[in-house]
Subunit: 145 residues, 2 copies
DNA sequence: GGATTTGGTTATCAAATGATAAGTAAATGG
DNA sequence: CCATTTACTTATCATTTGATAACCAAATCC
């Protein structure tokens, strides 16, 4: 396998995913939420409950800025903090009911848009697509570190 | 195929790609280039030559802002504009030699980081990965519209 | 050939984001 | 038990980004 071919494909592929995701999420962002906040909500939605430090790490933003943005999201009642009983320095963040609702709706819109791309795919095509995602997710785009 | 499973996987997958790409490109950004500018350079690198309107469309930023940022990149000698002889309103953008060099280096760093994720993959694994990218790129994450 | 559209520019403003310094309180480690 | 580290907060500032209005010149459209 030619290494450069692989790299070129990786670059092109990640760029494409990035762009399509960008298109898909255009206009769905809940009222009054900034892009960074949306991205945090998305991360919380799939990883909750999660500490501020973890959010800071994974979203690659400084703790002060993470703290500020989470505070804003809490003010908007989209998420809430609660103490870790075993370590009182730590605070976990989770979505509120409203936050769940908002993100569910956002994900629904994204889903609907993806659906238009998949509407003339056969059952077999879908199987293949799911398999491809599993392969790449587990082998290349894993995020645990 | 359960539609929700597919959506959940799509959401999780795009989030993972996004995050990994973010990690991969951390710290590689050439001196004095902002995130938006880097993203534009990346787009130009894989799509050149390309008009300002097209960049504006695909990067989903307004023409005034596109114009401003491209101007900055031209000032930095990373890209250059030239006229379309058949339509004198249009201007194409392409990387300069220096721009090519800078992006090649950036892509090289990203490639190297991906390599560490793939170092214990067999030839067969790599084939499978490339195939998976081809499937997803052509069926789900195509960007021509 | 005059109105409209297309492609792009300049200027300006507000908001979002990133970075830094300085602080608190709880846990951990000799 | 004192020093250090971890988890998080508050405040502040500069830069980036997004949005809008007003403009020019070339192309196109009746």
């Amino acid at each position: 396998m030619d290494e450069n071919t692989l790299f070129d494909k990786l670059i092109a592929f990640t760029a494409a995913v990035h762009q399509v995701k960008h298109e898909m999420t255009q206009g769905i962002k809940p009222e009054g939420i900034t892009p960074v906040q949306y991205s945090m909500l998305e991360y919380i939605a799939v990883s909750q409950p999660v500490t501020l430090s973890k959010i800071s790490d994974c979203q690659q933003m400084s703790m002060p800025n993470t703290s500020r943005e989470i505070k804003k999201l809490c003010d908007k009642q989209l998420c809430e903090k609660y103490d870790d009983p075993s370590d009182r320095r730590k605070q976990y963040v989770r979505l509120t009911g409203e936050g769940e609702r908002v993100m569910k709706e956002a994900f629904g819109h994204v889903g609907a848009r993806f659906l238009t791309r998949l509407q003339n795919a056969s059952e077999q095509d879908l199987q293949e697509i799911v398999h491809a995602m599993d392969v790449l997710h587990s082998r290349v785009f894993y995020t645990d570190k």
